[in-house]
Subunit: 497 residues, 2 copies
C-alpha cells in the first residue's frame, strides 16, 4: 500500500520538477534574450503553467499522498518524508489563496517585471507605481489568507527564511548600525582607484570570467555564463546552472565580482548531493544561506588580499597594459574602497548592510506600517541621506534600482545582509579547522568548497536553515562576528587606529 | 450550448498554446545555450510536458468539443471550425499511438539529437546508429498505427505536406534530374571567389546581419538573432520569432545567406494575421511553403543581381578593406558559383536539389524498401558519387551532416526542393503584377513582402497548402518554372550557350 503511494508520489514529484523547469527556463529567457514584444504571450503561458502547478500542488490526491507518507514516515525514504513535510507547509501557504488570484498574481508579476525594466530606464516611478501597488496588495492578501492574525511582513519574511521575524532583524540591524556607522564615519582619505577605470575590452573580460569560473571549479558542462543588464543565477537542477554578468569597459571590478558572487550561488547548487538533486530538496535551502555563499565568495574570499595575490598574475597576463604599473596590494586596496554610494549592488562590503537596512525598514513600514507605495521615493531618498549621507539624484539610481519588488520579492532583502554576516562566522570556524589562507593564496579553493559541501551544500533543503547554519558554525548565529570582521578589516585598510 | 463549448474550446486552445510555447522554448534553449550536461533532465521534462499535451489532445472532452464545433460549423467562428478540423486530423494521427510510446519517442528524440551533435563532431556514425534505428522503428510503427495499409513513407510525407506522395516527388525529382544534370555538366570555368574568403571579423558581420534584418523589415522587438552551429528559425507566436546564424571569419557569404534564409522564415511568421496569431492556425502552413519562403528570399531575391547591387554599397561600408577592389557584379557572380559539393546547406542554388533528391531516395528505401540504417553511409556516399561526382571523405561531411534525422524529421527534406521550386513560379506571377526588380534594386523589399502577405502569409494555416499555393500561383504547381529559371540563370552566368 505505502509502496504504491511512494511510487505515485515520486511520479508526482517528477511532474512538478518538469513544470518548474519549464517555468524557470521561461523566466530565464525573459531575463536574457526574449524579444521585448513577446511579453504578453509569456505572461499568458506563465498563467497556464502556474495554474497547472497550483492544481497539482493543492489537489486532494497530493494531500492524501503526503499525509500517508507522513503517517508511515518510518517505512519511507527520509528524503521523501522531508519533501512531504516541506510540501505540506508550502501547500498550506498556497492552498489558502483562491486559484484565480494565484494565477492572476503570476501574470501581474510578469507584467510588473517588464514595466519595471522600462520604468528604470526612464527613471519613471509613476509608470511603475500601479504595478507595484497591485503586487503589494496581492502579497498582503496572501499573507493574511495564510495567517490572518499575524503581522503581514513577518509572514513574508518567514516565507524566505523560516523562523525569521522582525524582532531578530531589528536587533541585527541595530548591531550593524551601532557598530559600523562609526567606522564609516572615520574614513577620510581614499586610495587611488583610477586604474580600475582604465579601458578593459569586453573580449578580454570574457576571458577573465572564464578563468574565474575555473578558479571556482565550475564545470562548464553544467554551468554556463551569459550576459544581462542585472547579473543573476538560475538553476533548473544542479545539472543545469546558469549565471550571468554585465561588462563595463571602464570598470573591470564590476563584472569580476559579479562572476564571483553568482559563481558562489552556482557553487552551492553544483555541490548538492546527487541523491536529492532531482527532488524538491535539491536546491539551496533559503535565501540567506544562498546569499551567504555568494557573498562569502565575493567578499570574504574574493576581496581578501591572499585571493588577489593568487589571481593577480593571471590578471596582469590578460590585461598587461592596464595593470603593468599596479601591484596586487594596490588592487586589493582599490577593490575594498569603502565609501557611501547610491547603488546597492556596487556598494563596498562595509556600507553594504546599510543599503539593505534601508530596504528592510521601508518594507516593514509598507506592509505593517503606514507607508504607501507612492511615498517610497521620498522615504528612500530621505533614508539614504540620513544613513549614508548622500543625495539620490533620480529614481533610476534610487528606489527603482533593484528588480526584487518588481518580481514580488518583498522580505527578500534582509537575507543579503544576514547572508553576509553568516560568512564572517563561517570563516572563523574554517580557520580553526584548516589553513584556509594558504590555500587561497595558492589559488586553490578546493578545500574551502569541500568544507562547505561537507557542512552545507550537500544537504540541499534537507535541514531547516537555522539548524543547518548552527551546525556549520558549531554555535548559534552571532552577528558580532560580522561587525568585528568588518571593523578589523577596514580599520587596517584605512589605518583608522 | 454551443457558446459554452466555444468558450471551453478557446480555453483549451490557450492551454495547448502555452504548453507548446514551453516545449518550443526548451527546444530552442537546447539548441542554443543549454549546458550539455543538462541533456537527460531536459529529456525528462519533455516527457512530462508531451504527456500532458498528448492527454489534452486525445481526451474524450477534446474530441467531444471538436465534434460539436464541427456539427455547428455555421454558427461558429470559421477560424475555430478550421482549427477543429485540423485538430481532428492530427488527433487521429496521435491518438492511435499508445501513450507510453508517444512519450518515450519524445524522450528518445531528445537523446538522439544530443548524441547526433557529438557523433557529428567525431564523425562517428556507429555511435549515432542505435539512436537513429530507434527513431526509424518508432516512426514506422506510428505510420502503421495511423494507416495500416498504406506505404509508410507516403504517410510520413503527408504529415509534413498534406496530399504529397512519392508519385509526385518521383516525377518532380525526375524533372529536376533530367533538366539540371546536363546544365551542371556544362559548367567548366569557375569565377574568382577568393575575396569571399578574406578575413571578415565577426563583430562586423554582426553589424551586417543587423542591416540585413532591417532590409527584410524584421522588427527587433519581435524577432531576435542568435548564434548557433546550425542556423535555424523558431517561433512561439508571431510575436516571438527567433533566428540564428553562424559566423565564419573566412566566409562572409555563409552567415549572410543564413540570415536571409532564416529571415525569410521569420518574415512569413511575422506577417500572419493578428486574428489567428495565437491560435493553432497562426503558423506557416507546411514545410514546403515555409522553405519556399526562406529559399525565395535567400536565392531568388538574395542571389539576384539587383539585390546585390542594392546592398553592396552598405557591404563596402562595413567591410571597406575586404571589398574595396570588388564590384557588385563580381560579388553577384561569386555568390552564385555553382559546383558539386559535399554540404547541402552550403550548396549553390543549381546543385542544391540533387542533395535533396539523394536524401529523398534514401528515405524512401529506408521506410518502404530494403535499405537498413546501418547501410546509410555506404549508400549516401555511392549516390553522392553517382549524382554529384564527388567523394565523401567522412560521415561528418556525409550522412551525419544534417540534424533532421536526429530529430525524427523523416520525409521533411523533399519540402526544401519543393519549396525552392515554388519560389520560381511565384516570382513569375509577381513580375506580371508589379515591377519587382526596380524595388529590389532600390533595396526596398516592402512591395514583395506585401504581395506575399496578401497571397500567402496572412492565411497562416487556414487554407490547405496545395490550395494556398495554387491560388498564389494563379495556376497549378509546375516544376518547369524552377528548372527553366535555374537553366536560364546559370546559362547566362556561365555563358553556357
Amino acid at each position: 500500500m505505502i509502496e504504491e503511494t511512494v511510487k505515485r508520489y515520486r511520479a508526482y514529484l517528477g511532474k512538478l520538477r518538469a513544470y518548474r523547469h519549464a517555468m524557470g527556463l521561461m523566466n530565464y529567457d525573459m531575463n536574457t534574450i526574449m524579444p521585448k514584444g513577446a511579453g504578453p504571450i509569456v505572461g499568458e503561458t506563465f498563467g497556464v503553467l502556474s495554474e497547472a502547478v497550483y492544481d497539482m500542488y493543492t489537489s486532494p490526491e497530493t494531500e492524501a499522498m503526503q499525509r500517508e507518507i507522513l503517517a508511515h514516515r518510518d517505512e519511507v525514504d527520509p528524503i521523501l518524508v522531508r519533501t512531504a513535510e516541506l510540501a505540506t507547509e508550502e501547500r498550506a501557504r498556497i492552498a489558502c489563496i483562491p486559484k484565480d488570484e494565484y494565477v492572476q498574481y503570476t501574470i501581474d508579476q510578469t507584467t510588473a517585471d517588464q514595466v519595471w525594466h522600462e520604468a528604470k530606464l526612464k527613471s519613471d516611478f509613476p509608470m511603475f507605481l500601479p504595478h507595484l501597488e497591485k503586487l503589494i496588495a496581492a502579497k498582503k492578501r496572501f499573507a493574511r489568507y495564510y495567517r490572518p492574525d499575524a503581522p503581514v511582513y513577518g509572514t513574508m519574511l518567514d516565507e524566505y527564511e523560516k523562523g525569521l521575524c522582525t524582532e531578530t532583524l531589528d536587533r541585527f540591524f541595530k548591531t550593524v548600525r551601532d557598530r559600523l556607522v562609526p567606522v564609516i564615519a572615520k574614513i577620510k582619505e581614499q586610495p587611488d582607484v583610477s586604474f580600475l577605470h582604465r579601458y578593459y575590452p569586453i573580449a578580454e573580460q570574457r576571458i577573465f570570467s572564464d578563468y574565474l569560473m575555473d578558479v571556482l571549479g565550475l564545470d562548464r558542462n553544467h554551468c554556463i555564463i551569459g550576459e544581462t543588464e542585472h547579473p543573476f543565477t538560475t538553476e533548473f537542477t544542479k545539472y543545469d546552472v546558469r549565471i550571468t554578468t554585465h561588462y563595463h569597459e571602464d570598470m573591470v571590478e564590476a563584472s569580476m565580482y559579479s562572476v564571483i558572487h553568482e559563481g558562489g550561488h552556482a557553487t552551492y547548487e553544483r555541490n548538492i548531493a546527487d541523491e536529492i538533486a532531482k527532488t524538491p530538496l535539491g536546491r539551496g535551502v533559503s535565501m540567506s544561506v544562498h546569499e551567504g555563499q555568494s557573498r562569502f565568495f565575493e567578499n570574504i574570499i574574493g576581496r581578501s588580499e591572499p585571493f588577489i595575490e593568487a589571481i593577480f598574475p593571471k590578471m596582469q597576463e590578460i590585461f598587461p597594459a592596464q595593470l603593468k604599473d599596479v601591484t596586487a596590494h594596490d588592487f586589493y586596496v582599490a577593490v575594498n574602497k569603502a565609501e557611501p554610494s547610491l547603488i546597492r549592488t556596487e556598494a563596498d562590503e562595509l556600507t553594504y548592510p546599510l543599503h539593505v537596512m534601508i530596504r528592510y525598514e521601508l518594507e516593514k513600514r509598507l506592509f505593517d506600517g503606514d507607508l504607501e507605495a507612492k511615498d517610497l521615493p521620498k522615504e528612500w531618498n530621505r533614508m539614504y541621506k540620513e544613513y549614508l549621507g548622500i543625495d539620490v539624484p533620480d529614481d533610476r539610481r534610487g528606489v527603482l534600482q533593484d528588480s526584487h519588488w518588481a518580481s514580488g520579492l518583498f522580505g527578500y532583502f534582509p537575507s543579503y545582509a544576514l547572508g553576509s554576516a553568516f560568512g564572517a562566522q563561517l570563516i572563523k570556524r574554517m580557520e580553526r579547522e584548516f589553513d584556509v589562507w594558504s590555500s587561497v593564496r595558492a589559488g586553490d579553493l578546493k578545500p574551502i568548497v569541500a568544507w562547505l559541501t561537507e557542512h552545507i551544500y550537500r544537504f540541499g533543503s534537507i535541514k531547516e536553515p537555522t539548524q543547518l547554519m548552527e551546525e556549520a558554525f558549531g554555535a548559534p548565529f552571532d552577528p558580532t562576528y560580522y561587525t568585528d570582521y568588518l571593523t578589523a578589516k577596514f580599520t587596517k585598510l584605512y589605518h583608522l587606529n
